[in-house]
Symmetry: C2
Subunit: 438 residues, 2 copies
């Protein structure tokens, strides 16, 4: 082989350092790694000591100079955040350079702009590290599952919330207490909003949906509910009923009746979810992630592993670098891209109105402990044609009775209208929690 492929690295935090360490220690890894060379690295602070022995002369505080450097053929963006990441990625593309990024936010929110630019410039933008940390999920969706009609993607794609929920389950402690400890341990950020509000999961399911179904969706339109309102009591009740509670991100193909002439209708959401104990996603605990794909004819396949962390994420970044190196090896024609690797969209996907999404719902209510209250609740749901799977009265305390309702599958519109009536009932003191159930 000829000249090595020059890589410019934007960001030398834990992930960037992990990438540098792999490139500089190729022994025992795929030999193609030796065809890749780190030629320029942008850091925030030149003075900061580094956990990797990158020659000082490669470092700069000016990321633009890395993108512009003629010896840089591929730009690896691991700085995170929307800007300046987005501008730097677009600048690299405009200069005819392929990009590898771990940045889910920028891809979820600006993926279409970036993909269009990459397609025009005939370069690759590879994003294996953006979802599921080290778990190979982007490449299987782009390549290995291409023979399938994908029906549904369900994922536990945020390690922080999964850690919190696992701890709440194991120890019966409340959200606020676990969050505090998770922050002390470095599993949750000082400002945890992106994780605990479900925004990070929504970014990731948007990306997965685009690849699984062949067309981008409107990220801003994804109904998203985080875990901040969950109490350990909901988890306890769910467990008693034979379920685990997970923050689930789902993208699902809808039935024929939704089919508009020119677009492919999808239901996409992020919501705390009751998962039956025997379901493959129910046993995914701690900071692990898992993504379950349902397709025809494959059936169900699941990908499981560490959803974050420097090592796993660096592994995914290097996988993308290897793919670019592999394609270059066979003589890349300047005007052509491998369609499996480029993964341009081939379908118009469209989110259906949230009101039309069909789900089973879990509801915890605080009610007066009077005879007949369960019958009254059942009647109100019946009046709205919401069929009930179970109504169970748990503890009755001085505060009243706790009643858990699980419905059969209904549209959210139908459910919400029944909920309004439930909340008006004078025996109902409080709606304590609302989740979905699979």
């Amino acid at each position: 082989m000829g000249k090595k492929i020059g890589v410019g690295l934007l960001g030398l935090g834990t992930v960037g350092t992990g990438v540098a360490n792999i490139i500089h220690n190729p022994e025992g890894r795929h030999p193609l790694i030796t065809e890749v060379e780190l030629v320029r690295v942008a850091v925030r602070d030149l003075a900061k000591p580094r956990g990797t022995n990158i020659p000082k002369k490669l470092l700069t505080q000016d990321p633009q100079s890395v993108v512009d450097d003629p010896s840089v053929e591929v730009v690896v963006e691991v700085m995170g955040g929307i800007e300046p990441a987005r501008s730097l990625i677009l600048r690299a593309i405009a200069a005819g350079k392929s990009v590898v990024t771990a940045n889910k936010a920028v891809i979820a929110h600006h993926g279409q702009e970036i993909a269009a630019a990459a397609d025009a410039a005939k370069v690759y933008v590879l994003i294996e590290a953006a979802v599921g940390g080290g778990i190979p999920i982007i490449e299987p969706l782009k390549q290995s599952l291409g023979g399938n009609k994908i029906k549904k993607v369900s994922g536990i794609v945020n390690g922080t919330t999964n850690y919190i929920l696992s701890r709440m389950t194991e120890e019966g402690v409340n959200y606020v207490d676990v969050l505090k400890e998770a922050q002390e341990l470095g599993y949750a950020e000082a400002d945890p909003a992106a994780d605990v509000e479900g925004l990070d999961a929504a970014d990731k399911i948007s990306i997965l949906s685009g690849l699984a179904f062949g067309g981008p969706i409107d990220r801003e339109g994804v109904p998203t509910q985080g875990i901040t309102n969950l109490s350990s009591r909901d988890i306890e009740y769910a467990n008693e009923l034979g379920y685990s509670v997970k923050l689930l991100a789902v993208a699902e193909k809808l039935h024929q009746e939704f089919k508009a002439a020119s677009s492919f209708p999808l239901a996409v959401w992020v919501q705390p979810t009751l998962i039956p104990e025997k379901h493959p996603l129910a046993g995914v605990n701690g900071v692990n992630n898992a993504i379950l794909i349902e397709g025809d004819p494959i059936g169900e396949v699941m990908f499981f592993g560490p959803g974050a962390g420097a090592g796993p994420t660096a592994s995914a970044v290097v996988a993308d670098l290897l793919n670019i190196a592999g394609v270059k090896t066979i003589g890349h024609q300047a005007d052509k891209l491998d369609p499996l690797l480029a993964a341009t969209s081939w379908r118009n996907c469209q989110l259906v109105e949230p009101n039309k999404i069909v789900q089973k719902h879990y509801l915890r209510l605080q009610a007066e402990d009077t005879p007949g209250v369960i019958g009254q609740i059942g009647r109100v749901f019946g009046d709205h044609n919401v069929s009930i799977q179970s109504i169970i009265q748990f503890d009755s305390t001085e505060a009243g009775a706790e009643i858990v309702v699980i419905t059969h599958e209904v549209t959210q519109g139908q459910f919400n209208s029944s909920l309004a009536s439930i909340e008006e009932m004078k025996v109902i003191q409080r709606l304590s929690a609302h989740m979905i159930c699979i």
Copy 2:
């Protein structure tokens, strides 16, 4: 794009029919499928009715004529068995045609010969369907995990035995009874030897090992033990001790001390194994397969799904066809192969002697129900420097006592020499079962 890629199909059983159905019904799948065309199909019996509407004129009973047909660019071999599959694959390669095969036996036993021929002819031999049915595992090993030093591959890779073990676990029934029912249901073949003796699993771990560690191993040298000697009692005891029982196939990198100058030492085996309940592989039940990969820096990732069946296997075959179509799109230089897709070996791997493999062992013994028998057993192991994790006496019946021993990690050589002494003890009536434990 120009002319479609002509595919010749060898075999039109359930998998071949599944492949044809995907190619003939591209709607909703990756658009690259439309670049692939079925031009010739070899069947065993032209007169047999088919579950797919392939034009009669494409069918022939002469597989060689399919391979030789000039309109066939890629040969898909889904006939199974060693011959004539091996000869037909080599013939296709010699004619400069890439091959996609689902045939684990031919790859496990003749992979080196086939790989050498493919490398010389500069064609691809892709084998996603050979291991794990539809689960994307070959491609992730070849591409997505290339940045890692792989330490260990552990797999439940045979659906028939996993189904049998799951039923034995759930219902407490014995091997022979479940096997009979599995045969009636079509989950086990009339001659089940390849599955229940572990040979199929040994084929598959040999293939996975070659890809994970970058060099082929000697398939004939893989120590293999099937499930035919297991009784429901072993499973019951294992469960009581907090373990599941699975037929596990493992390929593991050995520690530095084994390192010969020119080769990379591996321990590879297939054996019924006790797996701790919390381990990700413990919950893999029924005909599902799962493969767990441990690497640096990724940690542990697991791939889970249907390990066999027409649909999943066809999905994997089509994935390989798409990869070949993708590479052709960008202008395949006749003398070059994408090194990630070609996956030629880059290391000399070598099996260590079975005696040097380090494992924890499970042993079930029938002993006289006399005081001090546990002490005597413990002493014999101690004399051989085999350290014990636990010795537990289960039921004592009229037949004597049942004693289960789990050792700490010892070499097989050490363990076997202690076993010889145990069997000589006059209080020991019978060695009832032997498994390993992780």
